[in-house]
């Protein structure tokens, strides 16, 4: 994952407010983050994270590949080309093939995590006030990356098949009528963070059509693509575009964070040459190049082909955890609560009754030693208050089960309390009515 609940170093946010640029002056620690400060409590079961489980990799394996890299130490410690080393691009072509997307070496561009890809795309395409079409909810790291460029975020609702393309079309038309420039459609098509939903094959085709009709870019962010536990993978949007012509408007973002380790901070952009040229300029300004050392570690490991076995191991671990979460939700949650059933990835999205504010419930949950991420952070417009994101990839199955049991108790209490409040105030309203009569 690209965001998480870590103890952040503390800085005084306001000291130089008069000097800060306008675009960051508004960036504040959210209410939810204040609440997250309480997560340092010992004994808490946190379903609030989003980390892959790197313990499965093992220190011996890391020593082996580090030794291989040390043989070419001068190069590992040197600057590298802005777009990445040739060898790692070959590896990326293999990984993309596994994700179902044909790729040419020259269309691959290395970034420092896919998160940098998001920032560079924002830098390349967005002027202040431009619009971006996003799913509702959407990846909070994308909202953060784009927000530096001060765009308008147009959220489009999702159902179990992913983004509602007709609603996306309406949003684009509405924006055009208001003379707002829509620049791109951002989607996480597989096991979306945070909703756990996968965009159906049919919708992918429609979305590509829509982008062609309005001459827009599609940013296809696919960090979880190969982490599929069940069913057939629909074709990636990039592969659909390439199958029906040239690589043109689909910008595909990949990452080694979920299939290897986030610690290497490596991801990539796959796009046509014109876009990559602009991205290249942006990357030179941002960090010149990504780490050679990291790239060579990846090459040393992926060359052996062992990674396929490693992913099979990860899949087994994550599937077990996903099942534990879905089973526990079915067993413990009251019937007014709904959740998604992801076929892969890291997250389940839970929807509570409309009146229940997941942020206001968090202190009670934390008191009972269970934590989650409240939904509103995944929207740019304050929606999603009655939703929460639960992570299963980083927590052992027994803890997941216990955590969901605790969480359902908190939810039930909150629901019963609401019931009590409403009953009391209804009694008052009736009495008032009687006296008026």
């Amino acid at each position: 994952m690209r965001e998480g609940v870590l103890k952040m170093p503390v800085v005084d946010l306001d000291r130089f407010d008069f000097l800060y640029a306008r675009r960051v002056r508004g960036l504040r620690s959210s209410a939810a983050r204040d609440l997250m400060a309480m997560l340092s409590r010992p004994g808490i079961i946190s379903l609030a994270g989003g980390f892959p489980d790197t313990s499965a990799f093992g220190s011996e394996a890391l020593k082996r590949i580090a030794a291989a890299v040390a043989d070419d130490s001068a190069r590992a410690l040197q600057y590298g080309p802005t777009g990445g080393l040739e060898e790692i691009k070959d590896i990326i072509m293999d990984v993309m093939a596994a994700e179902g997307t044909p790729a040419r070496q020259e269309d691959v561009f290395l970034t420092t995590g896919a998160q940098q890809g998001l920032d560079l795309i924002g830098r390349v395409f967005l002027d202040e006030g431009d619009a971006v079409i996003c799913e509702a909810p959407t990846y909070v790291g994308a909202l953060n990356a784009f927000s530096s460029y001060r765009p308008r975020i147009l959220h489009v609702p999702m159902d179990r098949h992913g983004m509602d393309v007709a609603a996306a079309a309406e949003a684009i038309q509405r924006a055009r009528r208001q003379k707002v420039a829509v620049k791109f459609i951002y989607t996480v098509p597989n096991f979306q963070n945070p909703a756990g939903v996968t965009l159906s094959g049919e919708r992918r085709r429609q979305l590509l059509e829509l982008a062609r009709e309005h001459d827009l870019i599609i940013v296809e962010d696919n960090p979880y693509g190969v982490l599929r536990f069940d069913g057939e993978a629909p074709p990636t949007i990039s592969s659909l575009e390439q199958a029906s012509g040239e690589l043109e408007r689909v910008v595909y973002l990949g990452t080694f964070s979920k299939i290897f380790a986030p610690g290497v901070r490596l991801g990539w952009v796959h796009a046509q040459q014109g876009i990559l040229h602009k991205v290249n300029v942006g990357k030179q300004a941002a960090d010149l190049c990504s780490s050679n050392l990291s790239q060579m570690l990846i090459v040393a490991y992926f060359r052996s082909g062992e990674w396929r076995g490693y992913i099979r191991r990860l899949l087994k671990v994550y599937r077990e955890r996903r099942d534990a979460m879905l089973d526990a939700l079915a067993e413990f949650m009251p019937e007014e609560v709904y959740w998604t059933h992801p076929d892969g990835g890291f997250f389940v999205w839970v929807t509570l009754p409309e009146y229940l504010d997941a942020t206001a419930m968090l202190p009670q949950a934390i008191q009972r030693n269970i934590a989650y991420v409240p939904g509103e952070g995944f929207y740019a417009d304050g929606a999603g208050k009655n939703c929460m994101r639960l992570n299963f990839s980083f927590v052992e199955p027994e803890k997941i089960r216990r955590g969901i049991e605790l969480l359902s108790e908190v939810i039930k209490e909150r629901m019963e309390f609401r019931d009590k409040l409403e009953r009391g105030s209804r009694a008052r309203a009736r009495r008032k009515e009687r006296t008026q009569r």
Partner: protein, 318 residues
């Protein structure tokens, strides 16, 4: 020179501010030549304090656990002198309901309010009395958790339409909720310092202003969206009324050492909203800025507060 434990961090929602306050106090104490032991609050805190046997503890905690009398009672048990107010005064000031009752009984103006407990809602159908309470308090009103430290769970209501929702939300953060009349006026803070053996005095009145173009409510609860005027720009006649109200509140609540009393000046009335027994001491916090305006450097401020804890034979705190 003394050996001082600086208590900071904790698990309250104000952990971040507490770490900043603690860090700054720690450096000031070091510059003053004291030996400093910074302690984040955790399970081993008591054991560490017993081992260290510090001459005093400088409490830099905000919110539940640190500002509500919990740690103060523990320090008394361990016979470690500490800065600021005692357990009862701390607990009262943390709890808006208790504080306002003390103020009201002492004849200090505080906006009308009504209190609801979660238990009464659960077991006695108390939500039937919500409308009644709101009518008596009058709109616009604030709905807020009694033991608040931040803006979480606070709503401003113009009418009864969202009353139930606002009360429901506030109960997410506390078992006790207040409905309080919203008074409009200049927001004035009174940082109070009480050097050992002396009477408490207001350092300098501080006025909090929403930044231009910001709606008052939003600005007040968004950090960085407010500006300060030090000293506050109020008529000379109001200054003495404000200071008097703040000092009366400080005494009535039983505070020791230092505190910050928050008020609204509406017409000529200084309404006391609440008192903070451990206000923030960060670079941009109002308390140290007001001290500076009164000619007291940060080191002097820290030393004065510490002396209050170290002074032998000081009367017991409330």
């Amino acid at each position: 020179m003394a050996r001082i434990a600086v208590l900071k961090g904790g698990t309250s929602m104000e952990r971040d501010v507490s770490l900043l306050t603690g860090g700054r106090v720690q450096h000031a104490l070091e510059r003053l030549g004291h030996t400093v032991y910074p302690l984040d609050i955790e399970e081993s805190t008591t054991r560490r304090l017993v081992e260290l046997e510090p001459d005093a503890a400088f409490v830099c905690l905000h919110g539940i656990g640190g500002e509500d009398g919990t740690v103060q009672a523990l320090l008394e048990t361990l016979n470690i002198p500490y800065t600021g107010s005692g357990p009862l005064a701390s607990n009262r000031c943390m709890d808006g309901d208790q504080a306002k009752r003390v103020l009201r009984a002492s004849g200090i103006p505080t906006p009308p309010f009504r209190t609801f407990w979660r238990r009464a809602m659960n077991e006695m159908g108390a939500s039937a009395a919500l409308d009644l309470a709101a009518e008596e308090v009058g709109y616009p009103l604030a709905v807020k958790p009694a033991r608040q430290g931040s803006a979480l769970g606070l709503s401003r209501l113009e009418d009864g339409e969202r009353l139930l929702d606002a009360v429901y939300e506030a109960f997410g953060y506390d078992t006790k909720v207040l409905l309080e009349r919203w008074v409009e006026g200049q927001e004035i803070l009174a940082p109070i310092l009480q050097p050992p053996g002396e009477e408490p005095r207001v350092l300098t009145l501080v006025e909090v202003r929403p930044q231009e173009g910001m709606y008052n409510f939003e600005a007040k609860y968004t950090p960085g969206m407010t500006d300060f005027a030090i000293p506050a720009e109020v008529p000379a006649a109001a200054v003495s009324r404000l200071e008097e109200a703040a000092l009366s509140a400080y005494r009535a609540l039983g505070c020791s050492g230092f505190a910050r009393v928050d008020m609204i000046l509406e017409g000529g009335t200084p309404w006391v909203l609440d008192a903070n027994t451990i206000p923030g001491f960060t670079e941009t916090s109002t308390f140290p800025l007001a001290a500076e305006a009164a000619g007291i450097s940060f080191e002097e401020l820290v030393e004065t507060i510490l002396e209050g804890a170290l002074r032998p034979g000081a009367p017991a705190k409330l």
